[in-house]
Amino acid sequence: MSAIQGIAIYVLWLRDIKRLFRAKSRLMGTLLMPLFFLAFLGTGFKRAQLPGMWGMNYSGFLTPGILGMSILFSSSFTGLSVIWDREFGFLKEIMVAPVSRISIVLGRIAGGLTTSLFQALAIFAVSLVIGFRPRQWLMIFPAIALMILISITFIGIGLSFAAKMRDTQGFNLIMNFVIFPLFFLSGALFPLAGFPGWVRILSRLDPLTYGVDGLRAALLGQSELPLLLNLGILGACALLSVLIGAWLFERSEYL
């Protein structure tokens, strides 16, 4: 039974949206951190010039990185919400329903994707208010495509961990060991041009690197790799992580 059931995906998505707008403090919290980064780092390092920044000002360089960061964190949150559901018992209600596991994974992705895209676009709107300008307005569309792919990739990774973890503490621990290295290795905050070779190799293994570089390609017109290559690699990462997440979810017991 691996049919995709639209109504189940819809209701799982709807639940996430309802919960998002009811938990206003959580919504504010996840918006504020990237905005602080943007405001304080952007102002504090205003005159910084590092190799690999193509001579542009730092806050312009930082904005795509902060968008990537926001999506990284909010998407990984989807895995956490699965573990919460497990702790609160609601996961059993979902798992005992006659719904294919792939539909459940897709419903989770739909909910997480909407949430994190909503947050990223809110941050983008704020960045426009404080002076950021994309090089071409039409390039917002490939940027949104990249945001979607980043989000799906990390939702998939979060779900994979969630399928194996039993409590939030363990999940937080693992995610901190995974998320922060991914964040720093991606070059979201600073170019990695000045780092030793092995760090740059590690950063090439980080999906977020292609997301951030792609966002810079789209919004700034400057990047290490061409936009389409970034899109392609990230698309493959997204597909792979969803398949792994769905597979682990299907196999795990007692979910």
Partner: protein, 330 residues
């Protein structure tokens, strides 16, 4: 046709065997109980039948469908009320029901009709639009039972339906369960460690102890196995003539004379009291008091396992103890 068939079911976790070669079957329309202490393996059996756990070995079928085969087909036949609350407390009662109904693929008019129907059934219609966060333990339980009925399951699993509830709420839930079974003809399988609950509700009871079935029969038959009721007669003065006369009485199974009190084991003790009084009068024995005690399932449990349920739970050496994290406050 049997609603449930279980044959040689085994479930092993890392180092414990939670379910140890269990076999039983439940007829369509039956109200069947799994009685035993915490950690006896009841919840594991339910979770296997509800497709949440894979059996280690053995067969289990629900409505004729093997649980390890087409799991979604099994899921369409059943409703489950879990031991621990499984509600989204950030949604309202109605939203929880709507979520459920949509997951089960009901159409919009069906959803509207059945949600109203089940809310009425559990008396929650007026509280349906409040967040579940604000519900009491009993209300949450009732909402969960209502939810388990929306899809009109052929088989309903109730895992400890009244655990942690006050006596009044418990009685009401018992009434719901009974009328569901009688009026809607739903096959119900419930687990409990309350003797009264199994006795009051179930057509048949399987006594589960350490992953095995210790006994399986109707509550009345199980109690009869112990030899019937016991009448305690307190006599004034000598009792010997009465004992002598009673020894010749054929409907008396057992007699014990202890410290001025005569304990008589017999069937249908309530109907034999007049006859006993008559015999006592004939032998000139003065009876000061009569006390009739009916055997309870507690006695049955003791009889089959050599321990009381409370001892069993206190000893902590049951083969498998779930990490019970019952969250009442939420």
């Amino acid at each position: 046709m049997a609603a449930i068939t279980v044959a040689n079911l085994v479930k092993r976790f890392a180092e414990v065997t939670a379910v140890d070669r269990i076999s039983f079957s439940v007829a369509e329309g039956e109200l069947f109980g799994l009685l035993g202490p915490n950690g006896a393996g009841k919840t594991t059996i339910i979770n296997i039948l509800a497709t949440l756990l894979h059996p280690t070995s053995g067969e289990a079928e629900v409505a004729g469908i093997p649980v390890s085969g087409n799991r979604d087909a099994v899921r369409r036949q059943i409703g489950v009320v879990f031991q621990e609350p499984a509600l989204d407390v950030r949604l309202t009662g109605r939203e929880n029901l709507q979520f459920h109904a949509m997951m089960y693929g009901l159409t919009k008019p069906q959803r509207k009709e059945r949600i109203a129907e089940v809310l009425e059934l559990v008396d929650l219609a007026d509280r349906a639009d409040q967040l579940v966060e604000k519900y009491s333990g009993g209300m949450k339980r009732r909402l969960e039972i209502a939810r388990g009925l929306i899809q009109r399951p052929r088989v309903l699993f109730l895992d400890e339906p009244t655990l942690g509830l006050d006596t009044q709420t418990r009685r009401r839930i018992w009434d719901y369960i009974r009328s569901l079974n009688r009026n809607q003809r739903v096959t119900i399988i419930l687990t409990t460690h309350y003797m009264e609950e199994a006795d009051f509700l179930c057509d048949r009871v399987a006594i589960i102890d350490r992953g095995k079935i210790a006994a399986l029969d109707s509550p009345a038959h199980l109690k009869n196995l112990l030899g019937g009721d016991i009448l305690h007669l307190e006599t004034a003065g000598r009792g010997e003539p009465l004992v002598k006369a009673l020894k010749k009485t054929e409907w008396i199974r057992e007699l014990k004379w202890h410290d001025g009190t005569l304990s008589v084991t017999l069937n249908r003790g309530d109907t034999r009291i007049p006859a006993l009084m008559h015999i006592a009068q004939q032998t000139g024995t003065v009876i000061k008091s009569v006390n009739l005690s009916k055997p309870s399932l507690e006695d049955v449990f003791l009889h089959f396992t050599g321990r009381t349920i409370r001892e069993e739970e206190a000893s902590g050496d049951t083969p498998f103890r779930f990490a019970h994290r019952r969250r009442q406050g939420r």
